[in-house]
Amino acid sequence: MTTPATTLEKQAYKIGTARIGLWLFFLSDSFVFAALLVSRFYLLGDKRPHLEQGLGLIVTSVLLISSFFMNRAEVQISQGNRKGFVTSTLITMLLGIGFLVGVVGFEWGLAPFGPADGVEGAMFYMMTGMHAFHVLTGVVFLFIILRNGIKGRYSPEKHWAVEAAANYWHFVDLVWIFFYPALYLIGRV
């Protein structure tokens, strides 16, 4: 006999399990970024690549603001505000795409070196490339939850996919908080 209470409890336990899995994935993935960060300091020391400071500040702000809207989206769906969820997710996605355009579209073009020109170039393209790849997958996840949100598949009780996508987005954002100073601020040109 299936009683609603036990099904709900089972569901909650399953989500708890999935949550541990997600955070373990973050732990694992952070080792990639840590490896790149260590490599940057090992190879470049207190030298930093010559980059567009203004652009760097803009893309960083864009990404940080996107996290704010991401959080808003998650709160709104947990309060049953579907319309607000869709708007906030859409804004997050657009800001994410804006970040990608800023880094890959502009900074990669404006940088005075290519990936094959010395170790500064190698490190810069590897770090921003690996991070941009993660932002891109984040945008894909956002697209999925946006589409399912519009179809009304999430409810205050059942929106694990939104939580997972939001946490992933914050994680990628957090990585940039380490990468931005490592590439733009620390050291001399």
Binding site: M1, T2, T3, T6, Y13, G16, T17, A18, I20, G21, L24, F25, L27, S28, D29, F31, V32, A35, L36, V38, S39, Y42, L43, P115, A116, D117, G118, V119, E120, G121, A122, M123, Y125, M126, I144, R147, N148, K151, R153, A161
Partner: protein, 615 residues
């Protein structure tokens, strides 16, 4: 034909061929459109990577996730049913026991392959002078022997932990069954790609792939990188799944300190595999990108530093050896009490020593680099951290010795292999400190002494326990026991041959024979020893052939195993019939005592839970 095409493995291979073709075609096409000459290396890399993804699509690894992404629900893993018969091992399955056996099959296949490589170059080394293979091919074989067997070992560990952990902790399945299947199938195309390295020019760096040599090696190097990258991914996924399973799926009453030691060992192993594996992936990716895009991470001409690669590489590859041995040491602790009928001595210490080895294992990587030219002040700290590993490992040895002490030993085949594992691993352990100490390592570095030490640790920590585990749990898989006589022949042939082999390797190493070398001067005086080592290697191969005959014949003709044949307290023997049924325990059980209290009157480990209202 239709039936044939419904086998997951077949559709996967078709997917891999299609994916590879798309990858090669795409890049060549784009270059042709841009008016550039075709380039084989980027096309081959993209082809290999897309081929692996093609395999995953073909085998059905993405299917349910795509359904979820569309916002639809799929069946629960508990509603999944396999096709009856042996055919289920050839397709996509969600059952952890099937996946465990699949891992095992892949592992043993790769083991045969990697062992065959060794036999080829051992034959070459039996005499000085180049006999029948070219220098390049010799180098490729050396590297392939290393990496194919490393992947084989990772698969073997996954086989044991996938099959056993849910059974031992009383779970219906792993925490994420789809991820589990994905992780396994990822390793299949990766194995295909690493074998492809032989046919694409091979590589001459050995398994470590150090730049600058690996930045210039033939195309096979890239296949090697791609294969290791995806096999590593498989290992990470498996580790994540195992940690969550152990943390969340235990039977009621099984608190952390009532878990089987094997679960502790797998937990420790998985923590390493989950995190450190990323660094071998990253370091290989960086070399790969250096070759593809000219990014000069390890190219001193561009301001790079080859030493960085060694740091990144060994940050994984040293802890990786603890990934290889910890589950095996767990198996030893698991089986020993069953066969001496005594409680495991110092359970908590043994459990914690696994975690200790895992933790210290993260701090020792640079002991591989004493002669590399790294900063000299790093040598001594890394020497001490390396020697520190002996402390938790020593705890395990004390526990085993004290467990055996005054026990009533029964010398069944699994027990023989367990004892063999202890002896061989002890030799591996004792030859470790001379290599971890700076003064002696400067002499022994990159000699055959290292090769002997390494084979001792891996045979003691992985191969012997693996065989013990297979002989012990085989009836759970097939319902039949393996032949004891053949098992004993296997043991008594393999153990002395193996000891002769590694002693021989260490002897020529002390005399100054360098590892990975294709030829040597007869005047150096290690020709006879090399011949003996080669003969011993062939005897090991013969013993493993006997093992395989036993494995296949017993599946049909073995003695039927009924009930708790080993008189084990563990739930999979105490409660389940052989072979173990789908979805494991029809009736949940409670843990009411400690796992290894053999011979204590009235002690109980598991008891079937009182019938609850069905739910």
């Amino acid at each position: 034909m239709k039936n044939f095409l419904s086998i997951g493995f077949v559709t996967g291979i078709i997917g891999q061929i299609v994916g590879t073709a798309i990858g090669i075609g795409l890049l060549t096409g784009i270059r042709a459109m841009m008016g550039l000459a075709p380039k084989s290396e980027p096309a081959a890399v993209l082809g290999a990577a897309l081929g692996i993804i093609g395999f995953m699509i073909g085998v059905g690894g993405f299917r349910d996730w795509f359904t979820w992404a569309k916002g639809e629900d799929t069946y629960e893993a508990e509603e999944f049913h396999d096709r009856p018969g042996v055919i289920r091992y050839w397709g996509y399955s969600l059952d952890h026991k099937v996946i465990g056996v699949q891992y095992g099959i892949l592992s043993l296949l790769l083991m045969v392959l990697g062992g065959t490589f060794a036999l080829i170059f051992r034959t070459e080394l039996a005499q000085s002078g180049m006999q029948f293979i070219s220098l390049d091919f010799f180098n490729t074989l050396i590297g392939m022997h290393g990496m194919v067997l490393i992947i084989s070992i990772l698969m073997g560990i996954s086989a044991m932990s996938n099959y056993l952990v849910p059974l031992l902790i009383g779970a219906k399945d792993m925490a994420f069954p789809r991820l589990n299947a994905f992780g396994f199938w990822l390793a299949v195309p990766a194995s295909v790609v690493i074998v492809a390295a032989i046919f694409t020019g091979g590589f001459d760096t050995g398994w470590t792939g150090y730049p600058p040599l690996s930045a210039r090696a033939p195309l096979g190097m890239q296949m090697f990188f791609v294969a290791v990258f995806f096999a590593g991914w498989s290992s990470i996924i498996g580790a994540l799944n195992l940690i969550v399973t152990i943390l969340r799926m235990r039977a009621p009453g099984m608190n952390m300190f009532r878990m089987p030691i094997f679960a502790w060992a797998v937990l420790a192993t998985s923590l390493i595999a989950l995190t450190a594996t990323q660094l071998i992936g990253t370091s290989f990716q960086m070399v790969s990108f250096q070759r593809l895009f000219g990014m000069g991470f390890f190219d001193p001409a561009k301001g790079g530093n080859p030493l960085l690669f060694q740091h990144l590489f060994w940050f994984y590859s040293h802890p990786a050896v603890y990934v290889f041995i910890l589950p095996g040491l767990g198996i030893i602790s698991e089986l020993l009490p069953v066969f001496v009928r005594k409680p495991l001595f110092g359970y908590k210490w043994v459990a914690m020593s696994s975690m200790g080895i895992a933790l210290v294992g993260f701090l020792v990587w640079a002991h591989h680099m004493f002669t590399s030219g790294m900063e000299e002040y790093l040598r001594v700290p890394f020497m001490y951290s390396t020697l520190l590993v002996a402390v938790p490992t020593g705890i395990k040895f004390f526990s085993w010795t004290a467990t055996i002490w005054q026990g009533r030993m029964r010398f069944a085949t699994p027990m023989l292999f367990t004892l063999g594992a202890i002896v061989v691993f002890l030799l591996g352990g004792l030859t470790g400190p001379p290599l971890g100490t700076v003064a002696t390592d400067l002499h022994l570095h990159d000699t055959y002494f290292v090769v002997g030490h390494f084979h001792d640790t891996l045979f003691g920590g992985y191969m012997f326990p693996l065989f013990a585990a297979i002989y012990f749990w085989y009836p759970k898989i097939t319902g039949r026991r393996m032949n004891e006589t053949l098992g004993k022949i296997h043991f008594y042939l393999m153990t002395p041959s193996f000891l002769v082999m590694t002693f021989g390797q260490m002897a020529v190493g002390l005399l100054g024979m360098r590892r990975r070398i294709a030829d040597y001067d007869p005047a150096q005086g290690f020709q006879t020893t090399n011949l003996i080592v080669t003969i011993a290697a062939f005897l090991i191969a013969l013993s493993i052939l006997i093992f395989f005959i036993n494995l296949f014949v017993s599946a049909r003709k073995g003695e039927v195993a009924e009930g708790n044949i080993w008189e084990s307290r563990s739930p999979e023997w105490a409660l389940l019939p052989s072979p173990a049924p789908e979805h494991n325990y029809a009736q949940p059980f409670n843990v009411v005592g400690d796992p290894y209290d053999y011979g204590l009157k009235g002690s109980k480990y598991v008891e079937t839970a009182p019938q609850q209202a069905a739910d």
